[in-house]
């Protein structure tokens, strides 16, 4: 049977009816219609589906949607401020951290979780934070540089 629930995604509450086995990714993409998060492997290996749940990264392809009810869900659509890109998004563009783009939403979400808890990470910490996100084309060096660039810009804007 379907169960009524309210999923709050990027601050917006969405009343939905959900099968118990439905994944958070399925409901956010197919029912709510936010398609920024991607389905890659569908079993938690690749990280393309990464969302934040109460501020922490979660593989939404393998997380039951009903378990996310009443909690704060953040997807890549929630990073920008209207048309103004998040510093991470801007830095990915400038450092060449994007090629095909399929892994990018998950990379951005994992990186945003890192910068919340560790605003000036070492390269090592960036690589550990992105350890559950696979990129199969552009490579990781530009992505690590982009996260470091965003960290510096965010630190700069905080001190201004």
């Amino acid at each position: 049977m379907r169960y009524p629930a309210t999923l709050t995604v990027n601050g917006v509450p969405y009343p939905v009816e959900i099968e118990p086995s439905a994944s958070l990714l399925q409901v956010v993409r197919d029912v709510i219609g936010l398609t920024g998060s991607k389905e890659g492997c569908d079993d938690s290996e690749c990280g393309a589906c990464m969302m934040l749940l109460d501020g922490k990264p979660v593989n939404s392809c393998s997380y039951l949607a009903l378990q996310a009810a009443g909690r704060e869900i953040t997807t890549v659509e929630g990073l920008s401020d209207g048309d103004e890109l998040h510093p991470l998004q801007q830095a990915f563009l400038e450092e060449g951290g994007v090629q095909c783009g399929f892994c990018t939403p998950g990379m951005l979400i994992s990186a945003s979780a890192l910068l919340r808890s560790s605003p000036s990470p070492s390269d090592e910490e960036v690589r550990i934070a992105l350890g559950g996100n696979l990129c199969r084309c552009t490579g990781y060096d530009g992505i690590v540089r982009a996260v470091q660039r965003a960290a510096k810009e965010m630190a700069g804007s905080r001190s201004n």
């Binding site: 922490k56 593989n59 378990q67």
Partner: protein, 305 residues
């Protein structure tokens, strides 16, 4: 399938549901259960009992006797970050820090790791060397099992279907200067499970001799297991390179590895003394007061990444 979903908020409510719905799947972070269903390993059960809102199953508490109480919903990232776990039960912090990715560690719980019962489970060997006891509750009552009795075989535990893992008790550490470490052989650092793993605990007396030496192995037998033959060599010995090498070599005698996609049985067997020696050496450094990174294996690496 008309699947049912329950989201209890107390242990009493949870075990009531388990009693009335035999075979129900308990789900916390879903990092084994739901991932296993997605990858085709085993479909989700007809009844799902989501326990993430059972707040009495959260938290890490120091016990008056000097031990530690870990409730079932403690996540790997909590274990990795907790100062008392890192400082005193370091092998467990090492193990939790190696689980999956940041997302796996944020969702995956200690109770889930135990109930899943994988021979490659990261927390198994650390809990074995700490002589942990697992707390189970059903509507019939409570029973406590040593971790060695909980783990029965690959994916098999002594937990009955109507029982809920509610926590783990770590008794006080042995007397003396104690250090512990968990290391594993792995092909990549993230989203990996142990090819071979080992946890070691060493307690040193005032003269620097080993008063208590413990060793457990991961992913080389149907369950994680202690190695009495190695521990007999360590007991009372001076912690020399020779003694550690001899104990590590003896560990191979306890291993009954299988061939699988991660490695052949022969390769695993050859690597047991290597990984056991690393765990013992890192435990010794901690027992001598050195502060090592978590996970400890990072102390053995060179270069930026």
């Amino acid at each position: 399938m008309d699947r049912r979903y329950f989201q209890p908020t107390t242990v009493e409510e949870t075990v009531g549901i388990l009693a009335e719905h035999p075979g129900a799947d308990v789900v916390a972070g879903g990092t084994d259960l739901v991932v296993g269903a997605r990858s085709g390993k085993r479909p989700l059960g007809e009844t799902l009992v989501a326990i993430h809102d059972v707040y009495e199953l959260r938290g890490i508490a120091e016990r008056p006797d000097g031990g530690l109480h870990l409730r079932a919903l403690v996540s790997h990232d909590e274990l990795e970050a907790h100062p008392v776990v890192r400082g005193r039960w370091s092998a467990l912090a090492d193990a939790s820090a190696l689980v999956g990715s940041p997302a796996t560690r944020a969702s995956g719980t200690l109770g889930g790791n135990l109930a899943n019962g994988s021979p490659a489970m990261e927390t198994g060997s650390p809990l074995l060397v700490f002589d942990a006891t697992v707390e189970l509750v059903s509507r019939q009552g409570r029973r406590d099992l040593p971790i060695s009795e909980l783990l029965q075989g690959p994916g098999t535990t002594a937990r009955r279907p109507d029982e809920l893992v509610i926590g783990v008790v770590l008794p006080p550490l042995p007397a003396g200067s104690v250090g512990s470490a968990y290391v594993r052989l792995e092909y990549r650092r993230a989203m990996e499970i142990a090819v071979v793993g080992a946890a070691a605990l060493l307690a040193l007396d005032d003269g620097g001799r080993i008063s208590d030496g413990r060793l457990a192995l991961t992913a080389v037998a149907p369950v994680c297991l202690r190695v009495p033959a190695a521990e007999a060599i360590l007991a009372g010995a001076d912690p020399t390179g020779e003694a550690i090498a001899e104990a590590a070599a003896a560990a191979a005698g306890a291993a009954k590895p299988i061939d699988d996609v991660r490695g052949s049985a022969a390769y695993r067997l050859a690597m047991v003394p290597v990984i056991a020696r690393r765990a013992l050496e890192l435990a010794l450094r901690r027992a001598r007061g050195e502060t090592l990174p978590v996970p400890a294996a990072r102390a053995l690496e060179s270069g930026d990444h």
